[in-house]
């Protein structure tokens, strides 16, 4: 076999931890939308991210991170399903780590969100999709305001981030375990940081549509 089961999981964990850092950067820029300056700060940050050569290079690494995580995620999940063979008549009732059995499902929801997010923003940016009338190709500020003016879109957006939060809550401590970093000294702290981080991400990303809906 090309990669052993543990190697596959370790690569997935490393890619996942890298995506965790990316999410913080993305949230930081999103929160600039909350500044009441007609999107000046946000647009400046977005154009910096869009033009700085170091960031452009990092984007390739980021996309590879996504591809590695998704590819190995689907591969490992497929193998895991096959490993059971015939399923039980009575489903498993063992105590497990909270919602940890649904990593594949929450992952798929996040993947669907990612595709929608690409269609809404990235494809317009790279010129694959024409921007909606009245909005320029690089005007992400007004594009965001238009999208979040729809309560249905905002609700779907927030729900996706709740699922991402559930995914991250298990994923963070799980990555440490997979990489062999489980120690009675710090595992409690890792679990706490993972839960706090996932809560912050869900709350942080949800704040933007809520703010737009109520204050814009």
């Amino acid at each position: 076999m090309l990669f052993s089961s543990i190697t596959r999981k370790a690569l997935m964990a490393l890619a996942g931890l890298f995506l965790v850092t990316f999410l913080c950067v993305h949230l930081g820029i999103n929160l600039m939308l909350l500044r009441d300056d007609g999107g000046e700060t946000f647009t400046a940050a977005a154009s910096f991210m869009g033009t700085n050569p170091a960031i452009r290079a990092a984007e390739i690494v980021l996309f590879s991170g996504f591809l590695v995580h998704i590819f190995f995620g689907l591969w490992v999940s497929g193998q895991n399903r096959a490993a059971r063979g015939k399923s039980y008549v009575v489903g498993n009732r063992s105590e497990t780590s909270l919602l940890s059995k649904y990593m594949f499902h929450t992952g798929i929801i996040v993947l669907i969100f990612l595709v929608l997010h690409f269609i809404d923003f990235y494809f317009i940016k790279i010129g694959l999709v024409a921007p909606p009338p009245g909005i320029e190709t690089h005007d992400f500020y007004h594009r965001t305001l238009v999208l979040f003016s729809s309560p249905v879109y905002s609700a779907i957006y927030i729900i996706c981030f709740i699922f991402l939060g559930i995914h991250l809550n298990h994923a963070f401590q799980s990555a440490f375990q997979t990489l062999g970093l489980n120690h009675t000294k710090y595992m409690g702290a890792v679990k706490f940081i993972g839960s706090a981080y996932s809560l912050l991400m869900t709350a942080g990303f949800s704040l933007v549509p809520i703010y737009v809906y109520f204050f814009k």
Partner: protein
Amino acid sequence: MNFKLKIWRQKNAKAKGGMVSYDVTGISPDSSFFEMLDTLNQQLIIGGGDPVAFDHDCREGICGTCSLYINGRPHGPVKGVTTCQLHMRSFRDGETIHIEPWRARAFPVIRDLIVDRSAFDRIIQAGGYVSVNSGGVPDANSIPVPKHDSDSSFDAATCIGCGACVASCSNAAAMLFIGAKVSHLALLPQGRVEAAKRVQSMVARMDELGFGSCSNTYACEAECPKSISVINIARMNREFLHAKVFSEKEKIIRESL
């Protein structure tokens, strides 16, 4: 006590199999789960039927022969015990009890509730041993072992290889089993020598046999009759990744002409 049993019946490895209902009555709350099944089998034999086949041996929780997936949990509802140490007082009177064999592609059903667990033997054959002659007894103080390491090693060595970890895992992964075996040997100086080679060959064998891989739900730890900790899985991962990254390739010794 009276119970309604729904038991997986399957004539042989190739037959289709299905759940069959039975009623048992007048069971003592102090009888063990197997004594209850013995009662059922006696009834079936007297009635000219085919008794239910299930694995059992020591009936005192130390051999690892017994199995049974009872009401969605390997070894039934009580934590830290094997099926043979489970008693009928742990069930409600009149309860319906579903009894199924372990389900994993690597553990095919042979008959009724018996599965072939020789996949575990093949994993042990891949490296779950120390390949030196033990020789004479060394002086007590000549091989010092830290107390914590010897305790952790003994905790891992309590694994009886029953396969409950695989049965409960949503991915039918054997990583708690291998984690326990790898840990129990790697923590002691005698096993340390071959640790890098051992973990790589055991994991490779596990992959070949079609077990899944761990997604850290920790159902295995919850169901292990010996309560083996998932810390052992982390240790196996650590040993494995360390071996892959740092261990030297074995030198090929060419025979001189």
